[in-house]
Symmetry: C2
Amino acid sequence: MQTPQPKVSFKEQMHQAREDAILQSTCRLLSDKAYDAMTMDDVAQAVGIAKASLYKHFCSKEELCCAAMVQILGRLRTFLDSLAPEQPPLDKLQALVRWSLQRLLAHEMPLLPSRNSSLRAVLMANPSYLEGLVAVSDQVGQWITQAQAQGVLDPSLPPLVVLYTLYARACDPVVGFLKEGGQHSDEEIIALVLRTCFQGLAAR
Amino acid sequence: MQTPQPKVSFKEQMHQAREDAILQSTCRLLSDKAYDAMTMDDVAQAVGIAKASLYKHFCSKEELCCAAMVQILGRLRTFLDSLAPEQPPLDKLQALVRWSLQRLLAHEMPLLPSRNSSLRAVLMANPSYLEGLVAVSDQVGQWITQAQAQGVLDPSLPPLVVLYTLYARACDPVVGFLKEGGQHSDEEIIALVLRTCFQGLAAR
DNA sequence: GTCTATATGCAGATAGAC
DNA sequence: GTCTATCTGCATATAGAC
């Protein structure tokens, strides 16, 4: 008898699966429209449940979107942890941006909160999100200083500037522009954006 | 008697001045919050007039915001036209980004419509805005190909990628992040963002 | 053209049956 | 927990006096 609470566990699993579906739909919607423009009706319709049911899982729109962003952040941390320790730090930084761009192209990640997003204020007031953000920033910050010490990343740039730049490029709107143009494959777009980010526009 | 219609002209001037004030307030507000989050009440309060008066000048929120963006675009074109013809094209491109970043820091320019902004759809349906955007893009496109021909701008990058990247950097959220940090002056921030844009993050 | 007051519609959130 | 139906508030836009 190795199933002490089979029924409870099953229900919990269903519950969790439903919540994951809600979060996934939320992420998709947030990647297409701004936080203010996304409605709870949109989410309910995308998931295929009634709006009231949504509120049984998440007590407010703010909480729902925070949870979605926290989930994304968790996936990012999992990815960062999966990188081989012996990999050069610069490669890890590029892998970080590449991962984000892939999510962006797959419509799995909201274009992140720049200053004029009301979602940003909500997130910055959310302890779970902040905690995750700090953890990622610490990790990435280490790689930045290591890459600078190796001389492969411009050592004259303040690490914080590099960090912010990486975050900004991780949701670079150029990706969307190029995708709309339809001239390039997803992989080409990622390669181009990575190149402009790390090599710059000027000739070398 | 060189004043044929003095009274009409004066009234027109007042009218124009009032509209300019409205547009300026709109730009300021749009630089702080997203299109969807900005309300006509915000604008009315910022200008110091009643909301109904606003609708005497602009018949809808969409039209108002379009007019604000068209105004910005006009100023950009004026600036671009003012650049000395003998200036190297790469310098002109940098001047373009610098000008935008200055506006951004002065809260005079909305963080531009990336894909997830509902304002973007509105703008793309507006002939005046599109016309201005095409004119600027043609001008900038010429400079890009010239700079590539001179070998100072990476010739292996598709010109459209460079163009989109310049547009994206012109409202780089990194500016806001660094400004919030309070560690750098406005000029330092501009210099840093320009450097990451043209020189990249990797060491040279 | 400017105002106060109001109409209209929509979105966040809730009530209550099942 | 899920649903339908509803409450509430707010934002766009308008009416109508001055």
